[in-house]
Every structure is written in C-alpha cells, then in structure tokens.
Amino acid sequence: MLEFIWIIPLLPLIGFLVNTFAIRREREAGLVATGAVAGSFLFAVIMFFLLAALPVEERQVNVVLWEWINTGGFRVPFGLLFDPLSAVMILLVTGVGSLIHVYSIGYMHGDARPVRYFAYLNLFIFMMLILVMADNMLLLFLGWEGVGLCSFLLIGHWFDRSRVPPNLVPTNAAVKAFVVNRIGDAAILLAMAAIFSQFGSLNFFNVELGDTTLPGFIENAHTIAGKTFSIPGQTFFVTTGISFLLLIGVTGKSAQIPLFVWLPDAMAGPTPVSALIHAATMVTAGVYLIARTHEIFSPTTLNWVMWIGALTALIAGTASVAQWDIKRVLAYSTVSQLGFMIAAAGMGAFAVAIFHLLTHGVFKALLFLGSGSLIHGTHETQDMRKMGGLGKYMPITFATYIVGALALAGVFPLEGFWSKDEIIATAWSHGHFVIFAMLVIASLTTAFYMGRQIAIIFFGQQRDKSYHAHESGWLMTGPLLILMIGTVVGGVINLPGTHWLIDWLHPVMAEEAEPFNTTLAVITGVLAVVVVLASWWYYMRNAAKIKVGGKDPLYHYLGDIWEGMAEAWYFNEIYNATIARNYRRLSVFLARTFDPQGIDDMVNGVGRVLGRAASGVRTSQTGYVRTYAFVFLIGVIIVIGYLVLGL
C-alpha cells in the first residue's frame, strides 16, 4: 500500500491541471483546488499511519516511479521518499495547505483572477510535496525551484496594481524574491555538482535502478570524511565545501542573513499566500534541507549555520518591533522564527528544529490568516495605526489571534512555548552561551511585538473611523478556529515527558531527547508572559499617543535606534548602495551605451563597408540590353580567340 505514495503529490497536480485548462468560474476553482489538497491530506494521513505501523527500522519507503535522466554515468531516478521526516513535512504542507485553501475561497471572493490564483496554489502544493518527497537532490531541486516559481507568481498576483500597502509594487516584490533566491539556488547547483563528483550519484539513500545500485550520498557521507580540497592559502574538508554551498542556498530560501531581504517585500501577495508560502511551508524548505542532508554538514559549517540563525533571529526580531504594517510585523517575525530553527539545526538539534518548524507552521499560519481576516474586515486596512478597538467587532478573529500571538510569544502551555523553549534549552545545554543570550533576547522581542500588536489592533479606540469593521465569514473564521485548536494542543507531539516527535524522527536524525530543564523553562515562560503583559500595558497606557501616520511612543526614547529597527538595520539600503545601484549602473551602461554604440555599430559597420564596396560595382548594371549583349560579345570573342589562337 505504501508504494502508492505518489498519489499524494498527484492530486494537487490534477487540481492544477483541471483549474488551468477546464475551469473558468471562481466557485468551482476554489472547490476543485481545496478538494485536491484535502484529498491529498487525507491520503497522507492514511500513509502516515501505515508507516507508523511498520517496525522502526523499516520506516523508509523509496518508490522509484521511472528513470528520469540516464546519460551514461549520470543517472537520476524519479523517486519518492517516504520516511518519518518527509511524513511530518507532508502532513504540515497538506494539512495547513487545506485550511488555507478553504480560507482562500472566502478571502479571494470577487478577485479579478481567482481561477489562476487557485491553480497556482495547487501547483505550489504539488511542488512543495515534490520537494519534501524527493529521494535525490535533483528532484528536490525541481521542487525547490517550483515553489520559488509559484512564490513569484503569487507575490505578483496583483500585478495590475501599481501599489499595495505598505507601499510595495507587487511586480517588483515578485522579481526581488525571485532574483534574491537565484543567488542561493546557484549555490545549490554547485553543491549538487560537488556531490555528484564525490559520490557519483545525487540520491539521498542507496537505490536500486535496473541492474545497478545508485549510491546514496547521505548513507555514504562517512566515506569522504577527512577528504580535503585546497584553494590557494586555505585547506578545507570537502564536506565543509558542500555543506557551505547548501547553507547559501538555505539562506536564500529560508530568508536568513544575508539574503532575507526578499521576505518582507513578499507581503505584496495576497495574505493567504503569505500564510502558506511565506510562513508555513516554502520558507521552511531550507530547514528541511539541512535536516535531510545533515550527515554531510561538517562541524565548521554547522557553526556558521548556528551563528547565521541566531543573528537572523535577533536582527529580524528587533526589526519586527518597529513595524506599523500588520503583515510586515509577521513577516519579520517569520524571518526571526526561521532563525530560531536554523540556529537549532546549527547546534545539531535537527529534530528540535523540525519541531519548531511544525509548531511555527501552524501558529504563524493562524496569525497570517488572522491578519488577513483583519485586513478583510477593515476594508484593506493594513496600517495598525488606523486600527484599534477591533476586538469588539471581530470576536472570533480576536480570540484566535490572541492565541496565535501568545503561542508565538512562547506562553505556556501553547505549542510555541514547547518548541521555542527546547531550542533555547539546547543552546544552554550545549554550552553556546552567546547564542543562548541572543536567542533569549530575540524571543523577548517576539513577546514584545506581539503584545504591542494586540494592544494596538484590538484594544482602545478605532483611530481611523472611515471604515466600518465587520467579522469575516465562516469560510475564513472556520480555518482560524481549527488552527487555534492546533495551536493550543500542538505541543503534545513533543512534550518533555513523551518527546514523540524526536523518537519518531530518530531513524532519520539519530537524535536523543535532552533532559527537560525545568528551571530554564519556567524562567523563559514567565519572562514571555511578563514581556507580553508589559508591552501590552505600555501601549494601552500610551494609546493616545499613537496617531495615524504618527510615531511610536517608544520613538521618543530610542530615536535613531528605532529608525534602524524600522528599516531592519538598513540591509536593503546597504544592498542598494553597494550591489543593486552599481549593477543597475552597469546595466544602463550596457543597454544605453555599449549595446547601441558597441554592438550595433560593429554590426552596422560591417554592413556599411560592404554597401560602399557594392555601390562601386553596381554602376555596371545599367539595365540596358545592349550593354549586356556587348559584354557577352566581348566574352565570346575572348573565348573564341583563346580557342582559335591557342593563347
């Protein structure tokens, strides 16, 4: 029965094709797309239990559907892998994906291009499933690029709008996301070339293909241990080289420093897209990639991974505090939480990273969908300064949002508490005290900006009275309620006493649960509650100072630091000043100067020289019959003269 796992990605693909070629009406498109993903989810649940029924050491199904590429030595199967790690990823993608599809039916009602939207959403789910189910790097890369494409298409869904809040151009945001990701993807390509040169195969695990066995590079990672390569002046382990390239790819897709700048701009897309792609699933692909290939990550690279993750968590966390746009707060928060996951992976706690990935996928989807409900209910208002006092108009959104926010802040006993606490505890127990401090501060900023957001949005008085707020329909609040239940009970999958998830992932990660540090958990839990309450209280007290278009009350104390936080420490400006502007200058030079004066003149010059040479010869073509006849005669005389006189 488990060999039928290919049905899981097939259903969204069918949904995509049907929506693309057959369906023209909004209602049908939504139903088909949702049905495809929901069916895929149900099937995945069945497969999950079938996998769980197997003995632990047999929990790895590798189904080769056909031979994808065969060019002599380079052979790649189109094979799907179903093991504990991909199983939980599939459940997250299809489960949260189904809810977001249902929500989209309500949210995208009346949109100009709903059929296209649902088709892309299905294509995204398909590509994401390919990514997490691939049994080799190339197929994973197909999914990796596919989700990137869908991200591009969906960020730019409103390509006909010149501006969307907060002052973003959808087409530019889409292109930015795509281009920034290219940098990471190029590194992944190089990593694949390196892997192939070392192992002769791109498969994760040994696979029978026809009469040969393709060696799996994860299974055989130990064979290149200690192998080195040199660039002038430095010698590295080969594993460091490969894993560092993979890390660059991860920083692109999972929005880490230095490539995180695309994610805040990606909020130009419809809100369900932000929830699905830019919070719950696609951006976690990098974490998945590290977890999947962690055998090849050398200690050197893991150290880098850890520092990048912790730095990102801190920087994005502080940036999130100073945002006014409701989705931008969540976007920077996502970058920060991804930093937590990456940091956990860098510390070698891959299962913990996956735990946070799963819980974050649920509560961040809840928060994004909640923000979508707010945007919907306030008639496309995204600036939090224009909101206020919305709690009484939108009770369901209010309740669910509070739960999501508290989970994100890490308040006991919501799922965010368990997963985030475990990451922080790992940093402590592994003796990374600087990382520990960075992560604690980052998690406190989390608590702070969620308290701030709740106070500004839901409490006090409505500051911009030009709209009449209303609760969203059931299609939108239903998924919110289901996700809220998931947020409350989600921590169950890896409670300190049972640690089901770590045991479940043990065949892949070979990772043991760490003893629960109760003191630390109590301290971080209490701190989270205190900071949430403090920031909520502060913004409640200073509610009168918040004006539409005005400054934050804290700006008075922090000044330039606040400005820096609001601009995410000027990463965009630095890139603009160093790379983007110079690159544009180069492009303009090539387009305006080099191309017309260099290339065109060269080509035209050849033509002109030939033309001038030809104009001398063309006078011989008089068009008079007698001229031709005369030349003809002379020719005949010469030939005959030659023949007769034998000259």
């Binding site: 063309r618 008079y624 007698r626 005669l633």
Partner: protein, 100 residues
C-alpha cells in the same frame, strides 16, 4: 561550285550585321530581327560545312535551330506585347528598370 569559304564569309558578314543590330538598335522588333539574322548566319555556316563534308547531321541541326527559333520568336513577341501594354513603347532602353 562556289567554294565553302565564300559561304562562311557571307555567314560571318550576316552574323556581324546581326550583332551590330542588337548592339545599336533600340526597337525591340528590330532587335528580334537581328537575333534571327545571327541565327540564320549560323544556319548558313552549318549547311555550308555539311555540304562540304557530305554530312547530313549539319543539315538536321539547322532544322532544329529553325524550329527553336520559331518558338523563341513566339515567346519573345509575347513578351514584347506585354512590355508594350505596360510601357506603351517598344524601345528597350525604356525598360531599363533593372539598373543597379
């Protein structure tokens, strides 16, 4: 019997007149007549040599030339009519539109 050389001389004279006619005259019909003159000069030479050599083939070729020339005149006159319809003239210098 008249020696062959005289026939050849006559043939050469006729041919030269034909060439000059083609080179000098501008009327398309005269041009055609000149071409015919050249063809028949060649015919005359062929027949003269055939007689000297007592060879029937030279005479046969002449019949071929005459029939081909007839066809050529038919096509040529058709062209001439077409040119005249569009240009209202038979002056070949007026149809020098292929000048480079």
């Amino acid at each position: 019997m008249v020696p062959t050389s005289l026939y050849i001389l006559l043939s050469a004279i006729l041919f030269s007149i034909g060439v000059l006619g083609v080179l000098i005259r501008r009327n398309a019909i005269v041009l055609f007549m000149s071409v015919e003159l050249m063809l028949n000069a060649a015919n005359l030479a062929l027949v003269a040599f055939a007689r000297e050599q007592a060879n029937i083939e030279g005479q046969v070729i002449v019949f071929f030339v005459i029939s081909v020339a007839a066809a050529e005149v038919a096509v040529g006159l058709a062209l001439l009519v077409a040119i005249f319809r569009s240009k209202q003239t038979t002056d070949v210098d007026e149809v020098s539109i292929l000048r480079g």
